[in-house]
Structures are given as C-alpha cells and as structure tokens.
C-alpha cells in the first residue's frame, strides 16, 4: 500500500516528474497523430485498390490478351466460391477531345458496367449513373451515341482545396479514341491508314475511384466496343483480364486457389487450340498481389514511419531513465529510511516500477487525449493554415487525397499506450535496480545529506 501512496506522491509532488510525464505525452501525441494519419492513408489506399480490382484478377501481362475465356468464365460462375465475374479489355490508346488541340495517351478499360459493378466497386465510383449502372455508357443528352466514362481527372478540374467542379449533367463532348489493334502474335493488325482503329465516344459519366493513377489515365468503354477497337473481337475473341469477387464467407486464399484450379483445368482443355500459347502468359493473383507495386510502396513507407517512431520510443526511454536517475539520486535518503523500517530491495524496485507505470499512464492519457483532440480538428486546422498562410500538407491539385485521415484505431491506440508504458518501465528499470542495491547505511550517513 505504501508503494502506491509513495508513487502517487512522487508523481504529484515532484516537479521533475512533470517533465517525464510531458515527454511521454509528447511522444505519444506525435506517434498517435502520425500513425493515425499514416494508417488511415494506407488503409484507405488499400481499400480503394481492393474496390477497383475486386478480390482476384486473372490477367495476361501481354497487351495481346488471352483467348478461350468463355468456358473459364462459365466455370467460375458455376463455382460455389464465386459471387461475380467481369471480363475486361485493357489496352492503350490516344485520346483527342473534341474542341481541344491536345492528344494524350490513355489507358482503355472495356467492361460491362453491370457485371463489373458486381465484381468490383466500379458502380460506386460513378457520379451521374451511380443509381442506374446499366446506363453508364448511355449519354443522357443522346442515348443513341456510344458513351464513355472518363476517369474524373480527365473530365473535371480540381480547385486548390481538392474539390471538383461537378457538372449537373454531362456535357456533349466527343472523345475520338485511336487504338492500335494487335494480332494474336503481337504484330500490328492493320497497315497504312488502317494502322489504328479510331472511334468517337461521348462523355456519359466520370468515375472517381480515389486512385490518382486510375482517375487520371483511364477511360472506360463498353466491353464489345473496346474489344472491337483493340482488335480482340473476331472469330477467336480475346480479353486481358477477368475480375472476380468471392462470396462473403470465402477466404481470399481459398477463393484464389479455386480460381487457379479452374484455370488449370481450362488451360489443359484448350492445350491443343491454335492460340493456346497465349494462355501461358496468364496469372491468377489476389488483389494485393495484383496491385503490389503500388501497395508495397505505401506499406514500406508505413514501416519506415514505424521504425522512425521506434526511435522516438528510444528517446522516451532515455528521458525517463534520466528523470528517474535524477529522482532516485534525490530520494536515496527515502530509500535508506524504507530499508531501515524493513522494506526489501525488491519492494524498492516495485515502488519505482509502480511510479514508472503511473508516469507512463499519465503521459499516455495526456498524449492520447491531445492526439485525439488534434485529430478531431486536423482538417479544420489545415484549412485555416491554407486560408491564412497557403500551407497544405498535401497539394490537393496533385494528390488524390480528400480529407486527412483522422479516425483513431483502438488497436493502434492500445499498442501505442502499451509501448509508452513499456518504455517508461524500461527507462525506470536500471535506476530502480540501482536504488534497490543502495546500502541503507551509506544513504543515511550524515555526509550523504
């Protein structure tokens, strides 16, 4: 009991302990804010990639694509683990918006909007046709025209706050798209003036996936139109990818294994077909693997942040060690008195460990409270800074980031608090051990006072 009483009094009465509490609070505050923002960014980025991709992608690395997919799609749709399947054409083309003397390269994605919305989050990225996905490629101003969905950054401008200048309905703008069809062997299918297939599509909607590279470079076309444009129609039809969504209770690994198994069966069934060699370029990957080059970079950044804040933790340990060392030097007389009334060395360690625990708890609570309050206001603070000083954490005209993530994860918070307490205990360990080893006779000597 005396340990609790004394530890509380040391915490409340000794000004030097305020510095230890403040140091812990400051470290916890910084870590909570940075890790919350970072975890929010990474989590959000992963979720957006997952929404864009679906659970699993069966894709060819070659622009030529792969044939004989129809049977595989039927098998997938009949499988117990698969919820939805969407065949996709992916290629590159040249876009020359009407009324502008600009030609730029774009990525073409040909898809069936209804099927693709079931397999991915495509439907939720639409603006005008979100509630009428079947008409995604039907321009509202003339339903007879072939429509296209533009990545939002191809269609709209953003202001400095990252807000888009949304239109109430799509404007009638034609987008001539030229594509260079390839044969199954990868050679250009056309020659001379027929080298490129060109067709004009009309702006029917825009898609906002929240992924900068997607929103800035992809133009979505109706599946059959894109297949024809890329020269993948004809007798043996080809596609570039199949996006799959698994049923809710199916684990990602289980679903992918099943997709791979079915693919192996189809591949062996088509082994004697004339374009069977194209099937060798196909891989079956889960969404994380398929988007690894983007996700891995973010995860690496998060890990580096974690390591950097590990160093912050070491600084905390050092600060607590110094404060405890100073405190115990001042309290050697108390230790001598306690030993003289029968307190053991282990009790002394427990006393200072309890004190360290209190410092850790108090500092963590203050840091968490401060971090939480700061995160609640982080976006208003950023807006205020931008309005008065032109400062932004991320330039919204460049980065596809809306608000700064500020949702505190209880798991992250628990880990940070536990680590802060552990840092305090580690910092107090050596001084406490030294205190326990102090000889009462030496601490109670007149010349020690």
């Amino acid at each position: 009991m005396y340990k609790l009483v004394l530890a509380t009094r040391y915490l409340l009465k000794r000004r030097i302990t305020y510095f230890a509490v403040l140091a812990v609070a400051l470290c916890v505050f910084i870590v909570v804010v940075v890790m919350t923002v970072m975890a929010g960014l990474v989590g959000d980025f992963k979720q957006k990639n997952h929404d864009f991709t679906g659970d699993c992608v069966v894709a060819s690395e070659s622009l030529v694509g792969f044939p004989y997919y129809e049977d595989y799609v039927k098998k997938l749709e009949a499988s117990k683990v698969v919820e939805a399947v969407s065949e996709v054409i992916r290629s590159y083309g040249l876009l020359s918006p009407q009324g502008k003397d600009v030609t730029r390269g774009v990525e073409i994605m040909g898809l069936d909007p209804a099927r693709h919305s079931r397999a991915t989050g495509f439907g939720n990225t639409l603006h005008h046709r979100r509630n009428d996905i079947l008409k995604a490629f039907v321009p509202s101003y003339d339903p007879n025209l072939p429509g296209c969905v533009l990545g939002i950054d191809l269609a709209l401008e953003r202001d400095s706050n990252g807000r888009y200048a949304y239109d109430s309905s799509p404007s009638r703008i034609g987008f001539p798209i030229s594509c260079f069809p390839l044969t199954a062997r990868g050679a250009l299918a056309g020659a001379g003036t027929a080298l490129a297939n060109t067709k004009t599509f009309y702006y029917s909607d825009h898609s906002h996936s929240g992924l900068a590279r997607v929103d800035d470079s992809i133009i979505y076309l109706p599946f059959a139109e894109a297949q024809a444009l890329c020269g993948m129609g004809g007798e043996t039809k080809r596609i570039n990818a199949i996006h799959i969504k698994f049923k809710p209770d199916v684990k990602l690994t289980t679903g992918c294994e099943e997709a791979r198994r079915l693919w192996s069966i189809c591949k062996s069934e088509k082994a004697n077909e004339s374009q069977a060699y194209l099937l060798d370029t196909v891989t079956v990957q889960d969404w994380k693997l398929y988007r690894r080059e983007l996700i891995a970079a973010m995860e690496k950044e998060q890990m580096i942040m974690g390591v950097m804040f590990g160093f912050v933790g070491i600084v905390t340990v050092f600060i607590v060690l110094v404060v405890f060392y100073m405190l115990i030097s001042h309290k050697s007389k108390d230790i001598g008195v306690l030993r003289s009334i029968g307190v053991s060395g282990f009790d002394i360690i427990e006393l200072f460990a309890g004190f360290a625990l209190m410092v850790g708890l108090a500092g963590s609570c203050l840091g968490v409270l401060g971090g939480w309050q700061f995160l609640l206001r982080i976006n208003s603070i950023e807006r205020w800074l931008f309005q008065h000083f032109g400062f932004q954490v991320w330039d919204r005209t460049m980065f596809a980031i809306g608000d700064i993530p500020s949702e505190i994860s209880p798991r992250v918070l628990t880990v940070i608090v536990l680590l802060a307490i552990a840092a305090c205990l580690i910092g107090a360990l050596v001084p406490s051990w030294q205190a326990a080893r102090l000889k009462p006779v030496e601490t109670l000597q007149v010349n020690q006072l």
Binding site: M1, Y2, L4, V5, L6, R9, Y10, K13, R14, K333, D334, G336, V337, L338, R339, S340, I341, G342, V343, S344, G345, D347, K439, P440, V441, L444, Q445, V446, L449
Partner: protein
C-alpha cells in the same frame, strides 16, 4: 544474569572500510551485551565507529567478523526476509537528521512502518487500528495538533519526536538512536531525552549513540568506544 535478561549480544565484532587505498578498522573484536529494559549510551569520538556499531546492531549493516544475536537468535544466520521483518517489528531507528519522508504527512510518516509490513488488503483490514496507534503516539509526544502537517513545516524538535513516534509504531523491543539530539539545541535535546527517559521507565530497551558526555549521563549505563573496542 540469565539468558532471558539479555536482549542483544554482540561478540567479537570486526568491521573495516576501505578509504581509497587504505583500510580503516572501525571495530576490532567488540563485545557488547544489552539487557532487556536497559538504557545504554554509547559514547566515543567522531569516527570511533559508534554509528557503524548501531547499524550492525540493527541489521542495517553486516560485520566482517563476529556475530550479533537478538533474543538468542544470531542475525547473520537469518534470511533477507527475516532481517526485513526484524527491522520492521523488533527494532525502531531514530536518526540524527530525523529522515522523515517529505511527501508524507506527520501521521503518514508515523504509520509508515505498519503500512510497509502489510499487503494492500492487509492494510485495508488494519488501517484504522494503525492510524489510532499513530495518533496516540503523536498525542503522547505532544504533536496531536500537527498530524496533517508536512515534516518541513515542523521545528527540529518536533521532527525528532515524529521520528521517535515512527520508531515506536510497531512496538519494537529495541530502540536504536543515532545522535538523536545532535541536530537540536540544548533545551529541545533535553526534551527528546525526557521522552527517552519516559519510554525507558515504561520498559523500553534503548541503545543511544552520542559523542556528548552530558547527554550520555541521562542513560542508565554508559559504554565508551575507543580503538574499535569497548573501553572498560
């Protein structure tokens, strides 16, 4: 003198310290016997080993050679836990500089030894009794009005009386006082000695260390320490 009369016995105690390259022999084959209910004053020049002897008698330090026995039990043969219990229950220390804990009130300082020997639950069970005992001691020592004060709000004499109350909290069989009046003026020091007198008359065994002959005269027996031994 029967064995039952002897509360404390030191036999052939040797103790030396290193001071740089030289070894200082503080105690050299010291023998001492204290009877139950005695008030013994140990006097000697500064550096003669008085405090060292007191610390060894109270199990705060260990002799290099020799043995101390308390009520027939040799302290050197006891475990750390038993020695902690011995310091908590059997001995009360009074120091020259009082050594009160500044963070605790007068009352808390006094019942600290009782609290130190109990677990949280044990303390919850006996705290009222302990506080009552601490209050009684403080009232007896004329500090009934000072219980909520902090040590730094008291005079030197008052602090020493608080230290005496703390030493008596667990009703120890032996009170060890190291220059208890050394930091006090003559009148206040006499007040403290009056307290010791009263305690001794009530049966308390006291061993007091001092360098002052006049103060030692207040004890029932005076022992002079010189060259690491008791001078007969």
């Amino acid at each position: 003198m029967s064995n039952n009369d002897v509360i404390l016995k030191a036999e052939r105690l040797d103790k030396s310290y290193r001071m740089g390259a030289t070894r200082v022999d503080v105690l050299r084959g010291l023998d001492l016997t204290v009877k139950r209910g005695e008030f013994v004053a140990i006097i000697g020049a500064s550096g003669s080993g008085k405090s060292t002897l007191l610390h060894i008698l109270g199990a705060l330090d260990k002799p290099d050679k020799g043995a101390v026995s308390f009520e027939g039990r040799i302290l050197g043969r006891q475990s750390g836990r038993e020695l902690n219990r011995f310091r908590n229950k059997m001995v009360g220390f009074v120091f020259q500089f009082y050594h009160l804990l500044d963070e605790l009130s007068v009352l808390e300082n006094v019942f600290l030894p009782a609290m130190a020997s109990k677990s949280v639950l044990g303390w919850l069970g006996c705290r009222r009794r302990a506080k009552r005992r601490a209050m009684e001691l403080l009232v007896q020592l004329g500090l009934g009005e000072r219980v909520k004060h902090k040590p730094y709000q008291l005079s030197g004499g008052e602090r020493q009386r608080v230290a005496i109350a703390r030493a008596l909290m667990n009703e120890p069989k032996l009170l060890l006082a190291d220059e208890p009046t050394g930091n006090l003026d003559s009148a206040t020091g006499n007040g403290i000695l009056d307290v010791f007198d009263k305690l001794n008359k009530a049966g308390q065994t006291i061993v007091m260390v001092t360098h002052d002959d006049r103060i030692a005269q207040r004890a029932g027996r005076i022992i002079t320490l010189a060259d690491g031994k008791i001078r007969s």
